[in-house]
Every structure is written in C-alpha cells, then in structure tokens.
Symmetry: C2
Subunit: 112 residues, 2 copies
C-alpha cells in the first residue's frame, strides 16, 4: 500500500508540456497526467493499446476523439476506452489533468 | 466505449451524504464518490475486498486509515489499497470527491 502526496512527489517529465505521476498494484495502474499545452492547435496522434482504460477529467477542458466519435469534455466527466480502440485528445484549456486508470498495468510506462 | 458527462448523469444515491457515478469495462471500474458529510466526527467502518483499488483525491481533504497507517490527504493525492487490506476514510472538508479505480470490477456495485 502506498500514499503519494502531490506535494511530496516529483512528477515524471515526459515532454515540456506533459508530466505524469504513476501508482500501480499487480493488475491496476492509475496515471495522473498534466497537460500544459492548451489550447492545442490540433489533437495528438491517435493511439491504442490492449489495456482497458477509464479516464476522469480532473481539471480543464478538452476534445476527446474516441473511435469515430468526438466529444467536448470538462471537469468531472468520465470516459471508457475498451481494448484496442484508437483515441486521442486535444486540450482546450491551458491546463488539463486526466486521471487515467488501466488494467492490466501499462508495463511500457514502468520501463522508461 | 462510453462518455459520461457529469452534467448529464444522475448519480446513484447511496445515502443522504454519499453519491456515486460508475463506469466500467470488463476488468476495470472507476467510481466517482461524492461525500457531503464533512467534517465527519469519526471514520466510517473499516472494510476490505479482494479487488485492487487505487484512489485519487479529486476534491477536499480527508483522513485515510490504511492498514495500521493514518494519513491526512488533500486534493491531488493518490493512494493504493492492495487486496484485502482494511481501509476507511474520515472526511475533514465539507465536500470530498474520491475517484476510486478497481480491478477486477466490483460486481457488488452493479447488483444494487
């Protein structure tokens, strides 16, 4: 069991505009993703993975591209991404925080 | 794939001070839990389950009781609850929102 206080955690810097914090158990991972590039001129590149994903919009506003759908989401909204469904986002607000849950664990995120 | 906009979703009312919204896939569930009883005079009753749990504090402040540990948590903090570890919370702020992720799915939450 682990407690990760935001005030005491150094986020992983993925790019100048994208930081994340990760917590995981054996079959469950949560990734807090902070995007500071908004509003983005275009969506990021669609990607997919076999891991199931459910995401919570903790801060900000964004467009979600999910399969062939496009949704405008804001704080408090939730979306599910079944295995292998292409998806991507485009930030609308300057700051966006997504809380992404995955099962199984994204081993690719632990190898960096 | 599902999009649950907070503005268009009726939460499930578990008690006068506890509402929740649920999203799930085959092996992953996210439950947005809103507590409006804070500050609570005492913790809720400790409970445990074989499902792995990771929680994100989306709003408010609370005490977390996790195994034999006690932590004061605030917005942005994360905690993990491995299988079968007793845990409970005590709200400190009037409003607390937790985003609880589970794997496997809490079938007991779907049967209500």
């Amino acid at each position: 069991m682990t407690v990760l206080k935001e005030s005491e955690t150094t986020p992983e810097i993925i790019s100048p505009v994208f930081k994340r914090r990760i917590a995981n158990l054996d079959n469950l991972m949560v990734v807090v993703c902070d995007f500071t590039n908004g509003p983005a001129l275009e969506p990021d590149k669609p990607h997919s993975h076999h891991h199931e994903q459910i995401s919570y919009v903790a801060e900000g506003e964004l467009f979600l591209f999910l399969g062939n759908e496009k949704h405008r989401l804001t704080k408090g909204d939730i979306f599910t991404v079944p295995s292998d469904i292409p998806h991507c986002i485009q930030t609308i607000s300057s700051f966006v925080r997504l809380v992404d849950s995955f099962s199984p664990v994204r081993e690719d995120f632990l190898k960096r």
